[in-house]
């Protein structure tokens, strides 16, 4: 079972690859849109990459609830629990 920090680090790597944001900036309290400047299309790419990486399904209607990195990490933790 991956720790919260491990999931955050893997997600940070994905965000870095797709949106070019330094992985260290991708912290739990950061908002994808307001702090990290990840737009909605990049968010779709992040979601698809996260689904593959973590073996979870993130339905379209859930994506809008994932406002912060912490929201996404919690979602992944719950989905893989």
């Amino acid at each position: 079972m991956a720790t919260t920090e491990e999931i955050r680090a893997d997600l940070a790597e994905i965000v870095n690859e797709i949106a070019g944001i330094p992985a260290d900036d991708v912290q739990l309290d950061k908002s994808f849109v307001d702090d990290l400047d990840v737009d909605s299309l990049s968010m779709v790419e992040v979601v698809v990459a996260a689904e593959e990486k973590f073996g979870v399904e993130i339905p379209d209607d859930q994506v809008k609830n994932l406002k912060t990195v912490g929201d996404a990490v919690s979602f992944i933790e719950n989905a893989t629990a």
């Binding site: 737009d39 909605s40 299309l41 968010m43 779709v44 979601v47 698809v48 994506v63």
Partner: protein
């Protein structure tokens, strides 16, 4: 019982010629941003579009189709009377009936060629290529003219932040004919009607005309869902088209996806792991999204710029409303 006669076509087909027509009116982002309270930077970041072409009143679907077709026929080195079928892919011939194709077949000088329109939206051109190629192989036609033409500006809502900056106008055409070697690979095509509502006309004509405030229906799109489908599901279809043609990404010279959005093109290319040597069509930056016309327009720009040359292996993939999609590998004429 009497046995029926049968015909045989050509075992192989290829694109003999391609032509296109760009409308004369260039519309920069600065002309569309006010109505949608946006900016040039936002549009470019969101779509890669710097400007688009919109047709003038004189640049009708008929006029643009004829211009594009003449280029394709000339390059093919055939006479119009050698064309046995004309297939037109469009969703913006705003006369429900008759189809656009018979009039074009007549005005281009064919000898009463079979002529009909197909409705496969942005996927239309690749459907036309597939139909044309199969007609030549089956012997129901020796030369087929496949046209993609749109005036999406007629059905674009200038106030819709999701689409007003995307759609554009233009035409492209290809002549398909017999070949000694395979020049058009097997089509991989399909539909996903469960997602019927992702890209759709806002309401049907009858409602739009009979309601209290009669108006033109427009084209609406659920951008993020379309993006996900196009970028990721279509990358898989593109790979299948390569596999069916017996071609690897390393063999590929040119990638010409439907010019839907530069972000979709980039995401597809990443998902397909295209090697650096593959030239990628980016006509959308200057032309906008012309639906069924986008692939021949994009290919023509690459040929003009020297990015695609005769004999190159190209992958076409087109996808859009329906949802519908089609992909094939072709040899550039």
């Amino acid at each position: 019982m009497t046995a029926l006669g049968s015909v045989q076509g050509s075992p192989h087909t290829r694109l003999l010629g391609v032509g296109s027509y760009r409308p004369s009116r260039i519309v920069p982002n600065s002309e569309v941003i006010e109505a949608i309270d946006s900016s040039d930077e936002w549009i470019q970041q969101r779509s890669g579009i710097k400007q688009r072409r919109w047709a003038t009143d004189e640049e009708t679907v008929e006029m643009m189709s004829i211009e594009a077709s003449r280029g394709a026929i000339e390059e093919a080195g055939i006479q119009p009377e050698q064309i046995d079928a004309v297939v037109v892919a469009t969703v913006t011939h705003l006369l429900q009936t008759p189809a656009l194709a018979p009039m074009l077949a007549h005005k281009l000088g064919t000898q009463r060629a079979a002529a009909f329109d197909i409705s496969a939206a942005c996927a239309g051109f690749c459907h036309g290529i597939a139909l044309g190629s199969d007609m030549v192989r089956a012997g129901s036609a020796r030369h087929v003219l496949a046209i993609g033409v749109e005036r999406l500006s007629d059905i674009t809502n200038p106030l819709d932040r999701g689409t007003a900056f995307i759609f554009a106008d233009g035409a492209g055409a290809a002549v398909i004919g017999p070949s000694d070697e395979p020049g058009i690979g097997p089509v991989v095509w399909g539909s996903d009607g469960e997602q019927y509502d992702l890209i759709t006309q806002t309401e049907d004509w009858r409602y739009a005309i009979q309601c209290a405030s009669p108006h033109m229906p427009t084209l609406a799109m659920q951008g993020n869902q379309v993006f996900r489908w196009a970028a990721f599901e279509m990358a898989k279809i593109a790979q299948q088209a390569l596999d069916r043609a017996g071609v690897s990404v390393d063999d590929l010279d040119v990638f010409v996806p439907h010019q839907a959005n530069m972000r979709i093109t980039d995401a597809m290319a990443r998902a397909m792991k295209l090697p650096d040597h593959v030239k990628i069509a980016r006509d959308i930056a200057e032309q906008g999204n012309t639906s069924a016309a986008s692939i021949p327009l994009a290919l023509d720009r690459m040929r003009e710029d020297g990015e695609a040359k005769s004999g190159d292996i190209a992958l076409f993939i087109a996808f859009g409303a329906g949802l519908a999609y089609a992909a094939q590998v072709v040899v550039v004429p």
